[in-house]
């Protein structure tokens, strides 16, 4: 069991609807420092909507989200990114025409201080900054074992590796909180094992807190500390993997009730 710390992300009574469709109703949970927190649930349960609320893509109609004690309601993704939150996407959203290296370098954007004119004139500080960031990005490339693809346009890489690049770009931001939207969707067993290993390593080596959505219950049970279960936009379970697995509501949501 990992040592987890204080609450870093506190989600309180979040409700979100699109027109008449209730995507989330009254969801509350918290995420502790250094924790791997999974969000599970059947299709359409509201998992991605929840992640998008935390990420500032959707503005929930009710409720608050507090990040390290700072409450926010109306924030866009960029402001959330500035607060140290990075994410990956369920359906890859990489910069397809750009190389792996460039994709990861964009993740360093917030760390760059030189302005447009310094870059355009190729002044010393801008060049120095670029090579500093490059060193960091190369470390991530090594970490994710994608060295042979450094200069390959991402669009030409196999799917499993693109998922890795997506993770790499998020890691390049040196996030304190990492949101992973189905990092293992569409992967085979071997790729899933690799990805699980990377997620555990990130958590271990960088101390990054991770919130992850995943369908593969085996993986969830293996790597997460605590699990939130959603069904039809409501929270039906919250606790350690064992507790959740034995919860009557959760079992009926997944397997149906006996009549």
């Amino acid at each position: 069991m990992r040592k987890t710390g204080d609450v870093v992300l506190d989600v309180r009574n979040i409700s979100l609807s699109f027109g008449g469709v209730r995507a989330l109703s009254d969801i509350s949970f918290d995420v502790r420092e250094h924790e791997i927190r999974a969000i599970v649930g059947p299709n359409g349960a509201g998992k991605s909507s929840m992640l998008n609320c935390i990420n500032g893509v959707y503005q929930p109609q009710q409720g608050t989200i507090a990040l390290r004690g700072r409450t926010f309601r109306h924030m866009n993704s960029r402001q959330v990114a500035e607060m140290g939150v990075a994410r990956t996407f369920q359906n890859l959203a990489l910069f397809k025409g750009m190389s792996v290296l460039d994709n990861l370098m964009t993740g360093r954007n917030l760390k760059m201080r030189s302005n447009l004119f310094m870059q355009a004139l190729r002044l010393g500080p801008a060049q120095r900054e670029e090579s500093e960031q490059r060193v960091f990005v190369e470390r991530i490339i090594d970490f994710l074992e994608i060295q042979p693809y450094r200069k390959t346009p991402v669009g030409r890489m196999p799917y499993g590796l693109q998922k890795r690049v997506d993770l790499g770009r998020a890691l390049a931001m040196e996030p304190q909180l990492l949101l992973l939207d189905e990092p293992m969707a569409g992967m085979n067993v071997e790729e899933k094992q690799d990805m699980s290993r990377f997620i555990l390593d990130v958590n271990d080596e960088f101390g990054t807190t991770i919130v992850l959505i995943e369908h593969d219950m085996g993986v969830v049970m293996d790597i997460s500390d605590r699990v939130v279960v959603l069904d039809y936009g409501r929270k039906i379970g919250d606790g350690s993997p064992e507790e959740v697995r034995n919860d009557a509501d959760v079992i009926s949501a997944y397997l149906g009730t006996a009549h």
Binding site: V57, S77, R78, T106, R108, N109, Q119, A126
Partner: protein
């Protein structure tokens, strides 16, 4: 032979100017994935601003120095284009984040009509001239090789040089700087770009300003050749076959495409034109573009889009 070379050079010069306009399209497409219909209107607007301010500024400030007037007018016109970029981001683009590309395309169509009308309201609709002092006299080269030499228009030569330098600088900016990288990132995926903290608004203002700058340079050069009038916005239509040929996503493609179209239409007019009774210069570029669309829709240097099914 001398005549062939003369035609060839003439084509290259015109082609360089086509490239300059095509570049405006490519810049905005690369950075926001939008085909900017308003590029022609921006060229017209910029050229009108330049023409009128170079006339007004000496009057307002009471001096009589053409170089100074032109420099100041260029500065003010550039400022005007940056303002246009800022207003477009503020009033239009900001509300269209994460929307379909077709929505953005329609928005630029609206911007076209607005800019054309607003420009004429502001600067008047007469024909104005821009005189930046490009030498008009022709020169002869290769006089030793051919009898009578090859005639080249000096003005075209300067214009081509300016265009070439501009193009080289922009290519470097896009490929080698962090901001250039952020611009390309925004083009590929708005949402992902935002999630890693790239400020979309600022990026859009930068790219529309750069496109405005390119429009201004194109407007000044074309304007000093043809005079500043409404038809200037139609020159931009010639840039469409250029981007189809070169590829919408490629800065070098815009240049090569421009040169091919420029040379192609001049040479074809001279050598194949008589077969069709002449006048093929007008439509040659479009036919070429059509053929390209059939054979290689992504253009010579464009990114090949592979959709996984």
């Amino acid at each position: 032979m001398a005549f062939f070379l003369e035609t060839l050079f003439g084509g290259l010069m015109v082609g360089m100017l086509y490239s300059l306009i095509a570049l405006g399209f490519v810049l905005i497409y690369k950075a926001s994935g939008v085909f900017n219909f308003a590029q022609g209107a921006m060229v017209l607007f910029a050229a009108m601003a330049m023409a009128r301010f170079s006339e007004w500024i000496p009057k307002w400030l009471g001096f009589d120095n053409k170089v100074l007037a032109n420099v100041l007018a260029f500065g003010v016109a550039l400022l005007a284009m940056v303002c246009v970029a800022w207003v477009i981001e503020r009033l239009v683009l900001r509300y269209l984040v994460n929307q379909e590309h077709i929505t953005l395309l329609m928005a630029t169509l609206g911007i076209t009509y607005f800019l054309e009308g607003f420009g004429q309201t502001l600067f008047g609709s007469a024909i104005y001239k821009i005189d930046v002092g490009l030498p008009k006299d022709p020169v002869f080269i290769l006089e030793n090789t051919f009898a009578g030499g090859v005639l080249i228009n000096k003005e075209d030569l300067y214009a081509a040089a300016i265009a070439a330098v501009l193009v080289a600088l922009l290519a470097l900016f896009f490929q080698k700087t962090a901001t250039g990288r952020a611009l390309r990132a925004v083009a590929d995926d708005h949402q992902a770009a935002q999630s890693i903290g790239i400020p979309l608004g600022r990026i859009w203002i930068i790219v529309w300003s750069v496109a405005g700058f390119v429009a201004l340079v194109a407007g000044v050069i074309w304007g000093s050749k043809l005079g500043v009038q409404f038809t200037l916005s139609l020159v931009a239509l010639k840039a469409l076959p250029v981007v189809i040929l070169g590829g919408l996503t490629s800065v070098p493609g815009a240049i090569i495409g421009g040169l091919i179209i420029g040379v192609g239409e001049k040479l074809s007019e001279i050598y194949i034109g008589p077969l069709f009774g002449g006048g093929i210069e007008i439509w040659f570029a479009y036919v070429l573009a059509l053929l390209f669309l059939l054979v290689r829709p992504q253009g010579l240097f464009g990114e090949k889009i592979i959709d996984r099914v």
